[in-house]
Amino acid sequence: MIDLLALSPAWWQETFLIKVPIGLLAVLLPAGTIVYLYLFKAISFMQSRLGPMEAGPYGSLQLLAEVGKWIQKEDIFPSKADKFVFAAAPFVVLMSTFLLVVVIPAGPDALFVDLDAGIYFAMAISSVSVIGILMAGWSSANKYSLLGGIRAAGQLIAYELPLILAVVGVVIQAGTMNMQGIVLSQAEGEIFGWGGIGNPFILTQFIGFAIFMIAVQAELTQAPFDMPVAESELVTGYLTEYSGIRFLLFFIGEFASAGVFSAIAAVLFFGGWYVPGIDPANQIFNVIGPLVLAAKMMLIAFLIFWFRFTFPRFREDQLQRLAWKFLIPLSLANIALTGVLKVAA
């Protein structure tokens, strides 16, 4: 990307003037789009109403109005709260989201860092956000918040396993943990000797994809897995005491990580930035790759929000049973099957 512009910036220039602003954009723009298209509009259409219509054409500037409202609100701390932990918690959650985006490739050269263990890094970093949620739940000095935090921790521990095990199938098939390598192995793959569309792993790893999406739904605490923030039981759990800009940070974190996880799913199962018909080494992918990835990401994010809007909430014991007794054994069987077929092929 940078080579195309015939520039050779120093390391700090490349990091702080190019990568950091693009990274912010890559996290915030999809998050805003998801909130407007899905949370404001898609759910409204599913419920036969229009959604926000006043701010801007078709309510498209509603989000800016909401952000302005949150920023000018008072930053309230409960009097018995642990002030420092309470203040820091949203940043821990947001940090985990921002670190996730650095390993997602958007083109042959359009990437932040090319980690050898890219997808492994993503899985590890995504587990850090639990600490932020536990910090928020504990420091609020509120029983509802603490219950929400504990529920979130139990849920995220349970669903981290199927999430990682579902990825293992893809890693075995691609033969690499590098995100770029996973994209290329799909682009250069063949279906029974026919290489017309490459070999998107959604075809061979469909079980893995299903497990991955269910686990992502639970990791993001979106309905039907939203017991940690269940507004009717826990008054939105660990978010109860948050207001103003700190609530906004949690809100951005929730939708940005929905976008980032969709992008990871797009890379793992839909070939990432690759579109069939163009040689994956072609430099044009540095320009259209980010757009292709964004389009695939938005389609997968629609799945997440479709489930969120149409399924009723599980009970806590049903949630744990689904993870430990169904998803984990199924994903282990998927790994065994993938391994056998990989060796046999």
Binding site: D82, V85, A117, Y120, A124, V130, W138, S139, L146, G149
Partner: protein, 165 residues
């Protein structure tokens, strides 16, 4: 290598300060959160040494799982906000002696086994190399550790299970 030494020192100072806070803070949840910083520092040191896979594993296992389970357990049982008296062990002299001895033994063995040896510049051990050595040279220790972990897992289930007779 200068940049690596600078970052090593920054991380090491951060880790030492956080480790002191872990044992000196009067709040059990704060102690766990300071421990997060120590463990993140360890991950950073591994990354500085080019051991990418080990560094990421450090984050996944220790920060993502061990600390979360620790916080989970503490919050389920007793986690008051604010300072607590009686949080320090009354007979903390003995553990202090043991910790000092452990530190001495470990530093001696590390200094002794790497005497004068220097890391080759800019080596990154990738995950493929690690897995190749685990599943060829170290296959027996690897299997032994797996059996040990399985035994610990079954032991936990047996202890946690209610007797139904």
């Amino acid at each position: 290598m200068v940049a690596q030494n600078v970052f090593f020192s920054i991380l090491a100072l951060l880790m030492i300060a956080s480790a002191l806070k872990v044992v000196s803070t009067k709040n059990i949840v704060h102690a766990a959160l300071w421990l997060v910083l120590v463990l993140a520092g360890v991950a950073g040191q591994f990354l500085l040494l080019g051991a990418e896979f080990v560094g990421v594993t450090q984050i996944l296992v220790y920060i993502g799982a061990v600390i979360v389970l620790l916080l989970f357990g503490v919050m389920l049982t007793k986690a008051n906000i604010g300072e607590e008296e009686n949080i320090n062990m009354p007979n903390r002299a003995i553990p202090a002696v043991i910790a000092t001895l452990m530190f001495a033994v470990m530093s001696y063995s590390i200094i002794d086994s790497f005497r004068g040896e220097k890391l080759p510049k800019e080596t990154v051990t990738n995950a493929a190399t690690v897995s190749d050595s685990i599943f060829s040279d170290f296959i027996i220790p690897f299997e032994a550790v797996s059996v040990l972990l399985l035994a610990a897992l079954i032991g936990a289930v047996v202890i946690a299970r209610k007797e139904t007779a």
